[in-house]
Amino acid sequence: MSKNIVADLTAWVRTAAGLSMTIAVIVAIAATIHTGPYLLVNTIVTGGMLALVATGLTLMLGVLNIPMFAHGEYFMIGSLTAYYIFTPISEFILEHPDSWLVTFGPFIAILGALIGGAIAGAISEKLVFGPLRRRSTDNWVMNSFLLTVGLSVLLVNLHQLIFGADFKGIVGYWQGMPISIAGAYISLDRALAFIISAVIVALFYLFMTYTRTGMAIRAVSQDITGAEIVGIDIEKIVLLTISLACALAAVSGGSLLFMIPSYPSVGLEPLYMAWFVVILSGLGNILGAVVGAFMVALLKVITVEYVGAGWDFVVPSALIMLILIFKPSGIFGSDVRGVLDK
């Protein structure tokens, strides 16, 4: 019995996923011993944020086969919505420091971001993706990719035209002493943002696995004709999936507003990072994306620690390129195939 487990474990370690995860854990432990526990804390907190941004992208890619280049712009929409909701709330809080809004105001803002993202996603589906899908699904992946490139430029510049290019930021969501974990401090905002992202990713996973709608989405991602035969309304599922993916991006923008103020091109960095995660973990693999998010976070933190600030861009992209060369489908592979890939 135990021999079997050992054998299974060694077999698992030999797979790409096992190997890279083992290396990641070893590197994390070694670096933590070498520099201190703050490295691990930073990795986990950063990873939580990346996971939230990356799952939305994964959903878009895995189910609809849309390589979303405008994902960061939905992040921007989320942070913008949260900013406009939270600014009056924070003014109110200043005058009424005992109000229940002190605790729950931020949640309203973040929820607002979620809803804003979902609406924006639904509008994009109606105006952009829907028409493209109905006209032709020829060469779908590349065409939809280029479409999102246009969408990204459009949203960035609309933001600038309408809201201006200044940085719209807040002091923070929750005031209070930073939390200390093993000698490393993290702010209340950051800790709560991590919890929010963990909860949302978990809820999302449960939704995809156990609810009827979630199963329908997965069915669509695997076999569109089969899904149609069993009576799933494809149009509705596609609409839902896009809003969901955009809402995930937006909610991460909303919950990170305390750290990343809203401005037109704010989405670029989350976009790069989300793509790193998705390529690393394999397209359309949600659990893989979560693990991948922590790996990219580790890579980022380690690079800053040992190479220097500003390199946390060059080193991960070079490494992920290597992974693409040797393991084109990502280290976790992908078990879902997009519907529109011909």
């Binding site: 940085f167 002091v171 200390s180 750290m259 103020p261 500003g310």
Partner: protein, 419 residues
């Protein structure tokens, strides 16, 4: 049918082209002045402040100098030297600007200098502090005399004051670092690196050990890894700068969150009008060197900007540019007095003969709101005279969103306080 439509489109397009060409003709007695700034792109907030300053300054003279109506032409640098030089050339050729004012980035300055020289258009008060601009200027002062006095001296002249102030605090016993270990950070731009270089020189000259020199992209907002490294190594002073509001406010805020005890120099935090809204109490004890709006005129100006444009102007991008454009107006008035006509030739002549020699200056008596006096001399060109009674940034320490001057001694409002 199809062909007809195409022809229509082509006709419309041609019509637009000629319309665009026709804009070039200018009426008599109008003086178009180019305002070069990043009106779009990552530094668009600065562009907004420029625009407010220019409009407010021109309103004080009712847009007229002598018989001339001053017409501002917005030249968008888009924070990109290549695009800026194109836009500048276009403003000269297409809109006939006779002079230019302001500018933000050094990389843009380097490209625009050549355009100004090429078209012989005098340009005043461009920021763009880095040494490269000065080196290029000094390589051919004749040619680049069109790129007049800069609005911001090279970082070495002002940024070293932080270190001087800190060393003085050590002498006075108000600052007791465990070890003389300092880290340098900055945004990865010409400005960030120049400023970082001057901190380094000043630190090493006064017996400090430099822990590290790190430059990050202007869009970075997560500094936990970097700050944790400083905390672990017990860095006593963290000195650096960024012009990006997102980066610098996050840096300050997160330094408090992770419990970094070092003295933080955040040069440029106050360049953002609404910085306290973004950092909150995390900015306590942070050092900065932004002049405050001390005089009543200055405060009135800030109120007016807020009332008219809806944002709190920063003393640097807003205040300095306001002074800059007012100085430029003084130059125009002087030129009008001397020559009776205003064009690029006469303005350039005044600049070379009167401004660059120190004859014409602009100061508190003229209504300057930020500096005591803006004065250029043959020795300092293209920089201005940097001295406490001329152009000078005092070193401030923030507490509760208010800065108190800790350096120089004769301006001092209070002593340096350690966190």
């Amino acid at each position: 049918m199809g062909t007809k439509k195409i022809l229509q489109v082509v006709a419309c397009f041609m019509a637009m082209l000629f319309l665009a060409g026709g804009v070039a003709s200018a009426a008599d007695k109008v003086l178009p002045v180019g305002v070069l700034g990043p009106f779009t792109g990552p530094s668009a907030q600065t562009g907004k402040e420029f625009q407010a300053s220019v409009e407010m300054a021109l309103e004080t003279i009712n847009y007229t100098v002598g018989d001339y109506k001053i017409e501002p032409v917005w030249v968008d640098s888009q924070s990109d030297p290549a695009k800026a030089s194109g836009a500048y050339a276009e403003a000269v050729e297409g809109k006939g600007i006779q002079a230019g004012v302001l500018n933000w980035h050094s990389s843009v300055a380097i490209a625009a200098m050549d355009v100004a020289a090429q078209y012989k258009v005098p340009h005043m008060f461009g920021f763009g502090a880095s040494e490269v601009v000065n080196q290029k200027w000094q390589a051919d002062p004749e040619k680049y005399s069109y790129w007049g006095g800069k609005g911001w001296p090279v970082p070495a002249k002002l940024e070293k004051n932080y270190i001087v102030a800190l060393n003085k605090a050590i002498e006075a016993g108000t600052f007791k670092p465990k070890k003389k270990l300092a880290a340098i950070y900055g945004e990865d731009t010409d400005w960030g690196r120049s400023a970082g270089g001057s901190y380094k020189t000043a630190l090493e000259a006064s017996g400090w050990e430099v822990h590290s020199e790190e430059y990050f992209p202007a869009t970075q907002t997560d500094f936990y890894p970097l700050l944790s490294k400083y905390k672990k190594d017990g860095v006593a002073v963290v000195a650096g700068t960024s012009t990006s509001p997102a980066a610098i406010t996050s840096f300050v805020k997160q330094s408090q969150e992770i419990g970094l005890k070092s003295v933080i120099v955040a040069s440029g935090l106050g360049w953002i009008g609404d910085w306290y809204k973004m950092t909150g109490p995390a900015s306590d004890y942070v050092l900065d060197s932004i002049p405050q709006l001390t005089t009543p005129e200055a405060q009135q100006w800030a109120k007016d900007v807020k009332a008219k444009y809806g944002f709190n102007p920063s003393p640097s991008a807003g205040g300095l540019s306001y002074d800059g454009i007012r100085m430029f107006i003084k130059i125009l008035q002087r030129t009008n007095e001397l020559h009776g006509t205003l064009d690029k030739k006469t303005i350039h002549q005044t600049m070379v003969e009167e401004v660059n020699t120190g004859k014409l200056t602009y100061g508190k008596k003229d209504g300057a709101i930020i500096m005591n006096e803006y004065k250029y001399t043959a020795d300092t060109m293209p920089d201005m005279v940097v001295a406490p009674d001329a152009y000078f940034f005092p070193i401030l320490q923030y507490k509760k969103g208010k800065g108190s001057i800790i350096f120089p001694d004769d301006w001092k409002q209070k002593d340096f306080e350690q966190k």
